[in-house]
Symmetry: C2
Subunit: 201 residues, 2 copies
DNA sequence: GACGATAATGGCACCCGGTGCCAAATGGAA
DNA sequence: TTCCATTTGGCACCGGGTGCCATTATCGTC
């Protein structure tokens, strides 16, 4: 599948006519106007000036058009985990990295909000997100497993990864419902509760 | 959508020709033979001796055919939550009920295993499960909210519900990968870890 | 038995996401 | 200009899912 058009050396073959980024931009406009479900792939392709068949060369499915640079960001998240102090408590590290992973530029907040709204509120996208978040969970599980000296697939790393994702989703929902709050603050609060095992409650 | 054919009083109208239970039985045989993805709704309908259009009168989607009595069981789970002692720690109650919710008869274990295998291993079903588990999360969140004296939609009850579901999913995965272990034991272990905030790790 | 009301069924056309295929288009090098 | 490599787009098709309407089946009443 075509990645973002990086600065590639000139090479043989036809130039690409659009990009994931452009298609996403076009798609978001249509979703804003008509909603995700009422916007078809044909609509997006037409608006972007490409054929429908080409859309699927840029994205695996219609559902993938809202994920932006998520996969790239997972690499960044891995690097953040690699930089945590070795003697830091595991859950403290997870908390810090998850909060940092979700930090966005002030200018990106409206777009980020719309993205999360779609992902969490449109059933098709919410369902699909489970598959996309599988990669996110894998990053967390790998870190936890390394810390514990066990396999990433074993019970505790997986539990940690799933729980961290769950708590993050709860924080996203809260953020969407309360426009005045800071996402990172909500996340930090929720992750702190998780690390306490929701104690005293 | 037609529910299970309970002992209804005689009433006018055509009798139903099949049931959710029967369609599920037929479907599971086909999934066993060909896998979920290669089994079409036409296949299931044909094997059950009904028309394809009728299948969708029994199930909202192909993905729903594997969920058995899940929705009924949520009512049972609510009852179990209602019976927890009022002074029991919240997370202890959640742990106990989640474990109990997942207890199945010895005779049902093979079927339950196949069900979970499908749900967790087939991408389409895994994605769809997010929507189905939303109701499960709601039951947990309602209980937690009542204990905390807050709204079910607020941050902490949602975090608890999401985290509990996440940990349960990790336990299911572990159970599928280790046929010799008891599901309730794995669940209990994982929930205990959650209640400790994955402490000492 | 005929009739009316009711409920279930099934065929059909259609929508839409997604896929394989192949011919056409594009761009650079020789 | 030709050749090679890469991208594009149209098309036919598959399969999940839906609305619609005519048909079928059942029961109670007369």
């Amino acid at each position: 599948m075509p990645e973002k058009p990086a600065e590639l050396p000139v090479r043989p073959g036809r130039r690409r006519s659009t990009s994931q980024h452009e298609l996403e931009r076009v798609a978001f406009e249509l979703f804003e106007r008509d909603g995700f479900d009422a916007t078809t792939v044909d609509d997006i392709a037409r608006a972007a000036g490409i054929g429908r068949r080409t859309f699927f060369r840029y994205f695996d499915s219609k559902n993938d058009v809202v994920w932006g640079a998520f996969t790239d960001q997972l690499g960044r998240m891995r690097e953040q985990f690699a930089r945590r102090p070795a003697d830091e408590p595991l859950m403290a590290a997870v908390r810090a990295v998850v909060v940092e992973f979700n930090r966005v530029d002030e200018a990106e907040v409206p777009r980020h909000r719309r993205r999360l709204e779609l992902i969490l509120r449109v059933p098709a996208l919410q369902a699909h997100s489970t598959l996309r978040y599988g990669d996110w969970r894998a990053v967390v599980a790998e870190f936890a497993a390394a810390r514990l000296g066990v396999e990433p697939a074993s019970l505790v790393p997986q539990s940690i990864a799933y729980a961290a994702l769950g708590v993050a989703l709860a924080a996203y929902e809260h953020w969407l419902a309360h426009p005045g709050v800071e996402l990172c603050d909500v996340l930090d609060t929720a992750m702190a509760e998780l690390a306490r095992g929701f104690g005293d409650v």
